[in-house]
Subunit: 337 residues, 2 copies
């Protein structure tokens, strides 16, 4: 088989050799997702199989739906970290701050940084960053395969979990031919897509569906149907027995409608507002719309937080900002015809 | 590369030779889905590239979301079939009746039958049936690759559409290592998963989301939370601007809840009732529950139609039948411990 990441081959081999005799901690970002946990767990397991002393650490608990990606892998929070000298490897973190200030303070000079985020500036001694990969788990799987490292069934399933979630079940643009080839190799080592799907998508709570129902009932349209906005009012978590974790994915329903270019979710949080924006086409640069409210993100996915503002006031200001952006894009499109 | 379907290799070569000089029609089932249309289109395009005179025919129109899988491929309904002698190839049809009585009457002796359904009894002269394949499109893609047939970009995308939809985006148990390897090959020939996903999942109507919202609001639980039932009352299509096609996928929400073993959708149709049952585990044999109401299907997915019954009356009879089945399974599980 051809090398999957030839550009990393020699450097990764040297990196592996440099880990010998060290005590290692594999760190990833707060509010962990499938790629974060899957990458931490898989790297930890593979390094353990190489007789390296390693655990993983995450500032936040693992969401219920992703727990299958952990198995019996040692995973601690900050307080569970052992004393003494530890070598820190960051995975799936665009910057060190994403794993929280406590971990950043304890590990001011990270040893390694493996990631696929565009904004990663390479903050460690050894950096393996490939923005063309659909997931950090895709990079790790490719490196493990290139170096014929032992991937056990749990590691294979964890890597699969990372790839499946970060590609939206192979729906996002980042899904490449390499993605499918790597998954085929992971299946040969014990990954089970159907079992992963049962954990990821068939363990909803009744409250989550209630939350979805209320969000759908709130949908309204702006900008001649090109924008769809759904809202979550104060008290909705208590009313549905849900938590902020359950908001994940809701905004995609707003965007999924034919003719809608930008989907929006606005959440009341006391006297503050949190909003998520998703566009179908990067031309709408929702990160720029969010930036007008001190938010940020990517061209197709951005978010913002504002204090001391009412839902009604914020909603009208946001619609005005989106309308301006859509008009600018329309004008640009016309002028380039 | 190793052969994907070695058991079919010689027979498929002979079948291709036997098509020379014939006028062919590729037929698939009524109420077409992605695998049906994807398979018809891809086989038609590949045979055309071999200079065979071929069109596809389907008794029903292609749903809006699947139209991208057709492209410029000639596809007609029964009335659009040319006169004269035609050789009929059925794809993705468990039996000939699934494509409707008109086509069955015109083609009483089908020439070929390519399918992955367990219940297919091989009704044609040439039968290529593999129940271990996730989709008929998977079988066709494998046969085309094995025989180095020319798969153009539209055929690759059509085959991808069939595989992606029939595996529920690679979530069903049928998804195998072969599935991923074949998709990688299709991507090398022009398949674009993200573009397919935009057509399949980002072209919802506002009415469809309204229908989903009302279905979610109707969810209720039976059998100590192990059964979740949602209902669609008379008049809901008119109220939401939707059609029966939009019901697809709703029942999966009822099943997706943690602790729910069987999800149910009951639809009022005047004085008749249509119901769909989905279980997480085949042990519940929802086909047997459906059979008690003259319905049928598979162990995890079944349906039924009943005339002259009210929603309330049917609902209580169905719950009783499900309760009996669940109790029987519980007893069986206990006795085998």
């Amino acid at each position: 088989m051809e090398l999957i990441y030839p550009e990393f081959y020699d450097r990764f081999a040297a990196f592996l050799r440099s880990l010998e005799g060290r005590r290692v901690v594999v760190i990833s970002h707060a509010r962990p997702d499938g790629d974060c946990i899957g990458s931490q767990v898989a790297l930890t397991r593979v390094l353990r199989a190489l007789n390296i002393d390693v655990i993983c650490a995450n500032p936040d608990p693992v969401p219920r739906r992703i727990q299958f990606a952990v198995g019996d892998t040692p995973l601690v929070n900050f307080d569970g970290l052992p004393e003494g000298d530890l070598t820190a490897i960051y995975v799936d973190c665009a910057d060190q701050g994403r794993a929280g200030e406590k971990l950043k303070a304890r590990f001011p000079a990270p040893f390694a940084n493996i990631d696929h985020h565009l904004s990663n500036i390479g903050f460690a001694q050894h950096n393996f960053i490939d923005v063309g990969s659909a997931a950090t788990a895709e990079i790790l799987a490719g490196l493990f395969l290139d170096h014929h490292l032992p991937i056990d069934a749990q590691a294979a399933q964890s890597l699969y979990a990372g790839i499946a979630t970060d590609t939206g079940q192979f729906r996002f643009n980042s899904t490449s031919r390499r993605t499918f080839l790597i998954v085929a190799e992971l299946m040969a080592r014990g990954a089970q897509p159907a079992a992963a799907a049962a954990e990821l998508y068939e363990r909803e709570t009744a409250g989550k569906l209630d939350l979805l129902q209320r969000f759908l009932a709130s949908l309204s349209y702006e900008c001649a149907g090109r924008v769809c906005i759904g809202t979550l009012p104060n008290g909705i978590y208590a009313a549905t027995g849900t938590s902020p974790e359950d908001v994940e994915g809701l905004v995609d329903y707003a965007r999924s409608i034919e003719g809608v270019e930008i989907g929006v979710l606005i959440e009341e949080q006391g006297t503050a507002i949190k909003a998520s924006l998703r566009s179908k086409d990067p031309v709408y640069r929702v990160d720029r719309i969010a930036a007008a409210f001190n938010g940020g993100g990517h061209a197709c996915a951005a978010g913002l937080n504002l204090r001391d503002v009412t839902m009604a006031d914020f909603r009208s200001r946001l619609v005005a900002a989106i309308d301006t952006q859509i008009s600018a894009v329309d004008t640009l499109k016309k002028s380039t015809l």
